[in-house]
């Protein structure tokens, strides 16, 4: 973004990993885990989720967008080692078959449930989980955490080199936070993607525009596309609209061998629900 100033050109051998110019994206001095989304990797410092740092994810409602975003990285971590993933204060029960389809090993998941009005014990449990040698990642839903609490978590994650995601409500964006990486997640109903991700704090310049990621599993996306197509055809036959003017923009992922479209269409019972 910035053109190199004369001073910067005079010091070309500052290509040290420990020197970070604020105008550039942060270096790869930290160990990272690929997010599974190339577009997101490109805008994160180091090219992935940093290990040993607090990653703060803000979303309007807990439990709406988490798994699509973090599941690929967790699955990659689980494939590397034989360690545990700990969920702290998850809003609902994680559903094994669906997460298994995102290639997560559910048997290596530990869930610590919250109780209303018991935020301190969730913070304690998060810190305990971070200190455990046989845990590689912690997902914590801490709507009531304050900056001082997060600082302690950040220190613990850094000391024990853990992947730590903390999910908080959108109002936390106005508060200061010790997290080196903060993201805002919002649902989107567009063809290009279903999740709008804005990286509003990172080691680097602010993000120009939010990213659109397609985080749904391929089979689910195909089912939704097929349903949409069917509804469009029905409308065409009924002659309600004149959709012939519009080209069909439904992209069916035909390349996935395990999800043939006809099988998906067969699943849908032919009920007239209109």
């Amino acid at each position: 973004m910035l053109s190199p100033t004369p001073a910067a050109r005079a010091l070309p051998d500052l290509a040290n990993a420990h020197v970070w110019r604020a105008g550039e994206l942060g270096g790869a001095s930290v160990q990272i885990v690929a997010t599974g989304y190339a577009a997101l990797d490109a805008v994160l410092p180091g090219g992935g989720w940093p290990r040993g740092a607090l990653i703060e994810l803000l979303q309007p409602q807990a439990g709406v967008h988490e798994w699509g975003l973090v599941a690929p990285a967790l699955a990659a971590l689980q494939a590397q080692g034989r360690e545990l993933t700990v969920l702290v204060g998850a809003p609902w029960l994680p559903f094994g078959p669906a997460l298994g389809a995102r290639s997560l090993d559910m048997r290596r998941l530990l869930s610590i449930e919250g109780q209303p009005g018991d935020a301190p014990s969730l913070l304690w449990a998060t810190r305990e989980a971070l200190q455990c040698a046989e845990v590689h990642s912690v997902l914590a839903w801490l709507p009531d955490a304050r900056s001082a609490h997060l600082r302690r978590l950040q220190i613990a994650a850094h000391a024990h080199h853990k992947l730590l995601f903390v999910f908080r409500p959108l109002r936390a964006q106005q508060e200061s936070s010790p997290a080196p990486l903060r993201l805002r997640l919002e649902g989107a109903a567009q063809e290009a993607g279903t999740l709008r991700v804005d990286v509003f704090k990172r080691r680097g310049p602010p993000l120009a525009a939010p990213l659109l990621l397609d985080t749904r599993p391929a089979r689910l996306a195909a089912l939704l596309a097929a349903s949409r197509e069917r509804a469009r055809r029905q409308r065409e036959e009924a002659g309600v609209l004149a959709p012939l003017l519009l080209p069909s923009r439904v992209a069916l992922p035909l390349n996935s061998p395990q999800s043939p479209i006809h099988a998906l269409l067969d699943r849908i019972a032919h009920l007239d629900h209109h």
Binding site: E83, W92, A98, M106, C132, G187, R219
Partner: protein, 487 residues
């Protein structure tokens, strides 16, 4: 030639430091327990611990190595329990020579290798009543006394002194009542002051745990369960004792984890009356063959960084309760709410640990046969069209016209996906009722059509409508339930 070691631990208190929580006798007992890890011939004599290491020299690679190991274990033990103490040791061909040298060392004498003949008379316990007379007749060292005629010495000082000298010279058998550790640890502690607040009992418990630790090291075993009993003030109208049992999944020698568990449990206890004393009992121990090797290693890789999962689960369960720390288990069923179970992790801690350590040597045979005999867990089913979150109980939604409402109007994206469970039971329900299939008929029927709806915020919901039979009025007014979120 025999080889004896005399050992003495003295507490050091510095200005500004709190006094050592253990008295000298307890410390001596702990040192003797530790010494039992190196040789079975250990005795507590006067102020010192005497150990006959003749038979252990080859096993541990010589006297120098053995001494090093002994001091290292003592230091690790003292360090782990936060004690400040000084270890003095001396070696000799008989127990009394070793003890005599230790006493010279204690008095500040530098000559550890002092010749036996030059050892002063006062280092011999049997000579202590006669020190004044011996001094006046010019007997200052052992050698001086040996030069005197035996029968005269026996008449003047009694036979004990001569016997002691013979023992010291090795011409009489050097035998003691060897120390034996009890099969079960049980120790009572009178508290310095009445305790009214349960967490404050921890200080007393820690003192007892130090002794328990030494006992475990001496017996080369690990602790898996213990019981703490506190004795309440008898003047109150309450039961005289209260007790607490703490169990660990893995036998451990290092009691720091157990101490943290006890602290968590004590924090939740309420004392009915002031407590004046505590008893600590070991309930279950297990022999640890390689524990000494495991804890003695100084290499960084060999030392674990952080806690294990077992410790984590136990500690979390102790504070939050078993029901709040859960692990996942698959079930073979077609109804989504019965496809999985989140069970308390403390109950399945061994299988959780087995997931992380697939080939743990040593324990494999017993465990493998057990899992093979019991039913193997059902294979986890995967299905991308299910939501990532499931509500524990379906939430009934309000309906607007033919569609449900959740935080505003919803838009139907896909469905219906029909789920019919126990339909065959429905057909033959009369027959099923007569047969003792109570388990099956007790299962609720599920006749549902699942739909995927989208909220205005962009989230996807998994909503089903109950098909209330096939009657036309049942079909007209559908009941809608929210069952999951796609995330």
């Amino acid at each position: 030639m025999r080889c004896w070691i005399a050992l003495r631990i003295s507490t050091t208190t510095e200005a500004g430091q709190p006094a050592c929580p253990m008295d000298a006798a307890m410390l001596q007992q702990a040192a003797a327990s530790l010494a039992l890890g190196l040789t079975p011939r250990v005795a507590l004599v006067d102020e010192a611990v005497l150990m006959d290491v003749t038979a252990s020299l080859r096993l541990f690679g010589g006297l120098a190595r053995l001494m090093q190991l002994l001091v290292q274990r003592l230091e690790v033990f003292l360090g782990e329990n936060g004690l400040r103490a000084e270890v003095r040791r001396a070696q000799g061909a008989t127990s009394l020579i070793a003890l005599g040298r230790l006493r010279v060392l204690d008095e500040g004498g530098a000559a550890v290798k002092k010749r036996v003949a030059e050892l002063p008379m006062r280092t011999l316990t049997a000579a202590r009543p006669h020190l004044g007379v011996l001094e006046r007749i010019g007997c200052r060292t052992w050698d001086d006394l040996l030069r005197l005629p035996r029968d005269g010495v026996a008449r003047r000082f009694g036979a004990e002194l001569l016997q002691a000298l013979d023992r010291a010279r090795g011409s009489a058998p050097d035998d003691y009542e060897w120390l034996l550790l009890p099969e079960h640890f049980e120790e009572k502690l009178e508290l310095n002051a009445l305790v009214t607040h349960a967490p404050a009992l921890m200080a007393g418990v820690e003192r007892l745990l130090v002794q328990l630790h030494a006992w475990l090291l001496g017996r080369q075993s690990g602790l898996s369960a213990l019981k703490i009993t506190w004795h309440l003030d008898k003047r109150r109208d309450v039961p005289p004792t209260g007790e607490l049992e703490v169990r660990a999944a893995q036998p451990a020698q290092d009691l720091r984890h157990v101490a943290r568990l006890i602290a968590e449990h004590l924090a939740q206890q309420k004392l009915l009356a002031p407590v004046h004393s505590l008893t600590l009992q070991s309930l279950a121990t297990e022999l640890l063959a390689d524990a000494a090797a495991a804890t003695g290693s100084l290499l960084m890789e060999a030392r674990k960084q952080g806690d294990s999962v077992v410790e984590l689960v136990e500690r979390l369960s102790a504070r939050l309760g078993d029901a709040r720390v859960r692990a996942w288990q698959p079930c073979a069923d077609h109804r989504p709410e019965l496809m999985q179970r989140w069970v308390p992790a403390r109950g399945v801690i061994s299988s959780l640990s087995a997931q992380l350590h697939p080939t743990r040597p040593g324990r494999k045979p017993s465990k493998g046969s057990k899992t093979a005999s019991s039913s193997t867990p059902p294979e986890a089913k995967t299905e991308a069209l299910y939501p990532a979150w499931l509500l524990p109980e379906p939430v009934k939604l309000a309906a607007a016209g033919n569609n449900p409402v959740y935080q505003g109007p919803l838009r139907r994206l896909a469905g219906p996906q029909r789920l019919e469970a126990a339909e065959w039971l429905l057909a033959g329900s009369e027959a099923a009722r007569q047969q003792p299939f109570s388990g099956l008929s007790a299962k609720p029927w599920a006749l549902r059509d699942y739909f995927i709806y989208r909220t205005q915020q962009g989230g996807l919901l998994w909503i089903y409508s109950e098909r209330l039979g096939a009657t036309p009025e049942g079909a007209r007014q559908r009941a809608w339930y929210l069952h999951g979120f796609f995330a």
